[in-house]
């Protein structure tokens, strides 16, 4: 018998490492086949997709077992890589994968009833499965080419999803806008990547054992920085790459598409984009910058982007009278919050241990996955309530929520709970999410205190518009006495989101341990 590692050399094609994506792609193919046989089916494909996602989540187990020994975010020199350096497995990637799949799963639950508006429901679910596989693979992509391919695959599927209400002009407009923006920014990103490749000869973030030819990008750029003009080239390519990745994550100043696209998209697609797509994109930004590019180049810009993004999102949300647009802007703001953890981690990397800090801390590395997993539950919860109200009133006006507590008290109180969580007020998951981010950014030492203060001001601004929803529900007189009764799937989704938001608050300890904060 051969020992395991001779059959399967490191860096080799171990299919176990991408099992969740394989499950999702298989699921997509199955749903496409289903669509061909029974094109009008809605309920069966929906539940197949949901069960398939649960399967994909379970398929994470083998990868989880493979990485338990390694660091949370693999370093360039010492990583568990597969497929000749195209895929890397580490705790961070798996955590983000879980966020993507759970977010996708919850969005599907929102879609079960909503999809009766679609001409080809099974095709819709198939697209979600394909998109989820792309977002999921993005979290573990370890090579610039691989990253580009995944961004494009994620983009193409998302464009179609955004336009899935094909007879609604707004939905079509959303898809077109998303596509045009996406195509341009992806091209710019590719241009930036070509610079890096041209200067260093490598596109891989990680060293591949047994293949010594290519130096990983990080060390190569460290060397390049010393060469004359090297730092400038790094900055230029960084800026170009950030355009593409920042667009996908919805960071300012590339966030203008978010409100339009989210607003025009079908509700489940908005949910999907705001949690699953964003998680994938945040993961890749985090990995590329932290592993691939020397932090001196990007800590300042990323901190600035974080501040700009949260401010743009919150100020934009302030003006909205349409709850869907408001939550879209709020989603921009939350992307800004998460970037605080990245800036903080970058500052931690070149911070000498000792003077009040100790290099990168677990809070900084865990910040993004912790925050996004709280966001999945609270945001989907809020969107599920929005879906329920929409089903009754066919509009997203805040005015429809007037006096909701008199008509549907349970729903209104749960909405308060989700709004509290989004605002980061206990007793909710959002509180610990915000705590972790504040902890991460303050841990970076005095240089990022200003960012904490910007986030502080933003938190207060955000409460104002979240509270506009609460105000409508509780303080305004009802304009009709129609009771909002969510269907069983929505009720289940809301219950799940509530349970998640509350459980993360109470079980904060074990929960954060999942992200190696222990």
């Amino acid at each position: 018998m051969f020992p395991q590692n001779m059959l399967m050399p490191p860096g080799g094609a171990d299919l176990k490492s991408i099992l969740p994506e394989l499950v999702l792609i298989g699921l997509g193919c199955l749903l496409l086949a289903w669509e061909m046989v029974r094109p009008r089916d809605r309920v069966a494909p929906a539940w197949i997709a949901i069960v398939g996602h649960v399967g994909a989540l379970a398929a994470l187990a083998p990868s989880y077992q493979m990485v338990t020994e390694k660091g949370f975010l693999a370093s360039a020199e010492d990583a568990l890589v597969f497929f000749h350096g195209n895929v890397v497995l580490d705790g961070f990637g798996i955590a983000m994968k879980a966020v993507v799949i759970v977010g996708s799963l919850l969005s599907l639950l929102v879609a079960v009833k909503y999809s009766e508006r679609f001409r080809n429901p099974a095709e819709f679910f198939a697209l979600v499965a394909f998109a989820a596989s792309a977002a999921s693979l993005l979290t573990v992509s370890a090579d610039l080419v691989m990253i580009y391919l995944n961004v494009e695959f994620l983009g193409l599927t998302s464009y179609i999803l955004a336009g899935y209400l094909k007879f609604q002009p707004r939905s079509t407009e959303a898809a077109l806008k998303y596509f045009l923006y996406g195509a341009v920014t992806a091209a710019i990103m590719l241009y930036g990547m070509s610079f890096l490749y041209g200067m260093t000869g490598s596109t891989n973030l990680y060293a591949v054992p047994g293949e010594d030819i290519r130096t990983p990008l990080g060390p190569a750029l460290l060397a390049l920085r010393e060469a004359p003009g090297g730092a400038a080239v790094i900055l230029v390519s960084l800026a170009l790459i950030l355009v593409g990745l920042g667009f996908k994550t919805g960071l300012a100043p590339w966030h203008q598409w978010v409100p339009d696209v989210y607003d025009g998209s079908p509700l489940p697609v908005m949910a999907w984009l705001s949690v699953a797509s964003k998680a994938g994109a945040s993961a890749v930004i985090f990995r590329v910058l932290l592993v691939g590019i020397p932090p001196e180049a990007w800590v300042g810009p990323v901190a600035g982007i974080a501040a700009l993004t949260m401010t743009a999102g919150n100020l934009g949300a302030l003006m909205q009278t349409n709850i869907k647009r408001m939550l879209a802007y709020s989603s921009v703001a939350h992307a800004g919050y998460t970037m605080m953890a990245l800036a903080a981690a970058g500052a931690g990397v070149f911070q000498p241990a000792g003077a009040g800090t100790s290099g990168v801390s677990v809070w900084q590395l865990g910040g993004v996955p912790v925050y996004l997993s709280t966001y999945v539950f609270m945001n989907i919860g809020a969107l599920a309530v929005v879906t329920a109200v929409y089903a009754r009133f066919k509009s997203h006006n805040l005015a429809d929520y007037a006096g909701l507590v008199r008509r549907s008290p349970g729903l209104a109180w749960l909405m308060v709970f989700f709004m509290l969580s989004l605002a980061g007020i206990p007793p909710t998951a959002g509180f610990w999410g915000k705590f972790v981010l504040f902890a991460a950014v303050l841990q970076a030492g005095p240089q990022l205190v200003w960012l904490a203060i910007v986030a502080f001001i933003n938190s207060v601004i955000s409460v104002y518009y979240y509270w506009q929803v609460v105000r409508a529900m509780f303080l305004l007189e009802p304009i009709s006495d129609e009771v909002v009764t969510p269907g069983p799937e929505l009720r289940f989704t809301i219950a799940l989101a509530t349970a998640g938001t509350l459980a993360i608050f109470i079980l904060a300890g074990p929960f954060m341990t999942l992200f190696r904060i222990h």
Partner: protein, 534 residues
Amino acid sequence: MSLEKNALNALIWWPVLAFVILIALPRKRTPESYKKWAFWLSTPPLIVSALLVVAFQNAGWVAQAGEPYTVLQQWFEIANLKVNYALYVDGLSLPLIALTALITTLVIMYSNIEDRAQEYYALFLLLEVGMIGTFLAVDFFLFYVFWEISLVPMYFIIGIWGGSNREYAAIKFFLYTLVGSVAMLLAFIWIWMTVPIKTLMFVNIGDAPSLIGQTSAAVRAFPGLALAAWWGIFLAFAIKVPTWPFHTWLPDAHTEAPTGGSIILAGVLLKMGGYGIFRILLPVLPEQSYAMRMALLVMAVVGVVYGAFVAMAQTDLKKLIAYSSVNHMGYVMMGIAAAAAILHPDATEGQIRFAQVAASGAIYQMLAHGFLTSGLFLLVGVIYDRTHTRDLSAFGGLGQNLPEYAGWFRLFVFGSLGLPGLAGFIAEFLVFMGTFSSDAPGGMEFRVGSVIAGLGIVVTAAFLLWTIQRVLLGPLNVRWAKLPDVALRERLPLAILAILALVFGIFPNLLLATMQSYLNALPTLAVGASAVGM
């Protein structure tokens, strides 16, 4: 778990249960029946806190008396953070807890809300969770949770059942308080990261590590940030107290809130700020508190004088009482400033003694204001229910046909202006004695400050007497010729509050004994700072 520990858990979890029971009651019952349920559900915390008071009284109010009642359970521990479910009660917090339980019950007894009664009473029970929890929790995170929980019900109480401008007042209250609490959160995160400690407890329980005596040395390396952290924490409490210039939410909130809400606001919610400064700010950052003693004094004195003058200018009776709260809480801040002034290793015996006197006055004032101003707001509610106006110029001569009302009104107004024999007098006397003495803790500046604040007393007396004149004396406005006098549901709470104000006005030692062990510990906070060689 022993019976004693269950007492503290019950104080928090019973109101949670009561809230759940009340919202689970079938809808479409009569408002009266919801009131009955809420009233009886609110009594167990009152009984438990009364039993605790008796137990502490028997034990002589020493700090150790609290030991059997301590709950210390780990919530979770990750990385360099350990969060405890830690409840603790001592002579500083127990009177406030009893006050909370009492005022909650009295408010429910008094209220006669018709519209959305079920939600109304349920929200008061939820509010009780936040208030009692704030006074009981001694781990920062637990404290913060309760601190925030108390926000939401108050927002609804003002916003749903308030006056014409209720929405503005409610969101203003909410946002103001939130600014403070997020600043406090940031400050504590910074302290947690700077001080090599895993838990953020602010009371020593057994041998569990607490922040007391730990922070000074560690934060000294970052003087600017330490001061910023002090201001962050202070902001949260100063807004709640409220001290000038952070008081602008209060007149709106108090005026627009329904009577029950105003009573709770004045009676308990404001005390959370003063309590927080005594329990958290002074012990956790003694050096910075000392450095900021003059800022504290200036804010206190301006609050006293400004509050009094602005109150005098009001034509709305409720707004007048609201501004008188700014004035009264100014005395609390004066006592706090004096306490901060001795958080220094060089403080002399005499200074420490007088600072303790001033601080005891401040704590006394929190309770006295709780009885007296609650009563005044209730009286405003009584007259508003009957006349639907609060315009001072619309009243006059009410003493003629509402003799009982006039009696209560005089009693509480005189109490509020510091008439000897009522609790307010003791409080103000102690504060002035502590700050004006020849050995005043802050030196000459504090004596000058107390003289200026003395002016505030005169103005307070003036506007309160003028209020009596405008409401009770003079020719009777014929519109009010047939008003019914005080009803039973109003008389009972008034009587209870009046009795408490009288008892603590005549027997100050009853209440002074409770805070003794806290005051004795106060100067030792500075010792922690000196140990590192200041």
